[in-house]
Symmetry: C2
Subunit: 296 residues, 2 copies
């Protein structure tokens, strides 16, 4: 497998200043795998309830997402409901973990060896469980969120010690390290043995910190923002799937990976749920990546 | 003359989370001209009171800043006093216009012809007065602030119709155009006939919008921020002075101009008052510009 993604599969009810969707396809593994699907074979490891719509499964299959690791459990699928007050801040109405409450990721045979492994935003304990199972991979990345930073910073540090790439946003990296300067904060994570820290800055793009390099990428301009849900997952999925096509984790590869992730995140936020990241042409992604390169 | 700068010359009393200075050299024309001095002959047009310290004059002269257009009037120099609550927001304690209250810019003979003209942040009516006097120039730029946008938007629009380059920050361009999307907002200013709109984004750098191009530049990383005063003026001064060395206002020239402006702004904020932008080596500026290019 090129890329294995461990994360959530969810049904989201989302309100933004531009509209509302009910029980729409969502979850970090879904956003990340659809974005990843443009670069090579991608598998997800997660869990859904028996209420999960067939259309969701069909959509993932139509993008050649391998579902060997997607369990179906009796009960309801993980549901999140919230409203974006502005484009950077959501108010959560409800988080119903449902079958996700007892999720214990188990990699199927087909996922034990892969080039890229993405530990999407789940409990660090589960991320560690995955790392204990996997047999062979080239590079592994983790995502996280403020919730885990507050709840279990030590387990998160343990995860970071075992990954090559960390995706984290500005507020999170400041919270995690206690440092206001994002460059100093990223250095602190690099000192754990991480090779690349990708600090996401929302509408301002990202800065990727490596041991001996920096890479600033602007966000791809979005004319009409509709729903920010999943942007970070699309970024990480596109990034890691592109990396799986590369022989080495070097500067050039990482820069292009950031650019592809950036473009996918922009396409995601221009539509509700996963509408912006399905049925895309690779050539259009490449064209947008070239624009981004020319604009910097 | 390569560059003529019309703006304020001031004595600032500034408090930031990192310290305090009293009656320190400041004002848009001072910051901009010191930054500009590394690229070619620069002149300032402004006014000071007879209390203005000789050391200030000597410093400008040591940077070869032409002072033919700097009037000395009986009375006190323009004084600003404030405190930065955070790095983006200052609380003003007092603004004493003093001799600046009756400032009516008059270009001396030596300043009537220049390659670059920078109308720094002063009343748009005064900016128009300067435009009526100047005889020959290649390109002219204006800076502005929220105060003028609120007070006299029509006069500001009249200025913009007559300049090639507009320096403006994100909040200001949103306020001026009433548009939330900065790209759409910049297009609106481009439609007035402006060739390049440089939208400043603080710690996130800048985006320059041209009729058929975009250019994103990150901020040059600052380890230890001390005093943000003058950052925009240093950016504009460095930008316009670099442009004065260029044969045409094309993509490549504008990109390098942005990079030099960015580096000078970063050097400025790393020290109080003008301490960070004096006695620099051009080769060090060039080295930092190259870093910035390599990081994007």
């Amino acid at each position: 497998m090129s890329l294995v993604i461990v994360g959530s599969v969810a049904l989201d009810t989302i309100e933004t200043p531009r509209g509302k969707v009910v029980d729409a396809l969502g979850g970090s593994a879904v956003y990340a795998s659809l974005s990843a699907s443009y670069f090579g074979p991608t598998a997800i490891v997660g869990v859904v309830g028996n209420d999960f719509p067939t259309s969701g499964i069909e959509l993932l299959k139509s993008h050649n997402v391998n579902l060997d690791g997607l369990e179906t459990q009796a009960g309801q699928t993980f549901r999140w409901s919230g409203k974006y007050l502005d484009w950077n801040r959501a108010e959560t109405f409800s988080t119903d973990l449902n079958v996700f409450a007892d999720f214990s990721p188990r990699l199927p045979e087909s996922c034990l060896c892969c080039r890229s492994l993405l530990l999407a935003n789940i409990h660090p304990r589960l991320q560690l469980q995955v790392l204990d199972q996997i047999e062979k991979y080239e590079w592994v990345a983790c995502d996280t969120m403020n919730y885990w930073i507050t709840l279990c910073p030590d387990e998160l540090t343990e995860v970071m010690r075992r990954v090559d790439i960390v995706f984290i946003n500005e507020q999170e990296i400041r919270q995690y390290t206690g440092l206001d300067n994002v460059f100093a904060a990223a250095e602190k994570i690099i000192s754990l043995g991480v090779k690349a820290v990708v600090v996401k800055r929302g509408e301002y793009g990202s800065v990727t910190v490596l041991e001996d390099d920096l890479f600033f990428a602007p966000a791809y301009p979005v004319q009409d923002l509709k729903d920010p849900t999943g942007a970070g997952d699309c970024f990480a999925g596109g990034f890691m799937s592109y990396m799986a096509t590369q022989p080495a984790l070097n500067k050039g590869a990482i820069r292009n990976a950031v650019r592809f992730g950036t473009v996918l995140a922009a396409l995601d936020v221009a539509a509700f749920s996963v509408e912006g990241i399905i049925n895309l042409d690779y050539s259009d992604l490449q064209k947008k990546v070239n624009q981004l390169r020319n604009w910097a």
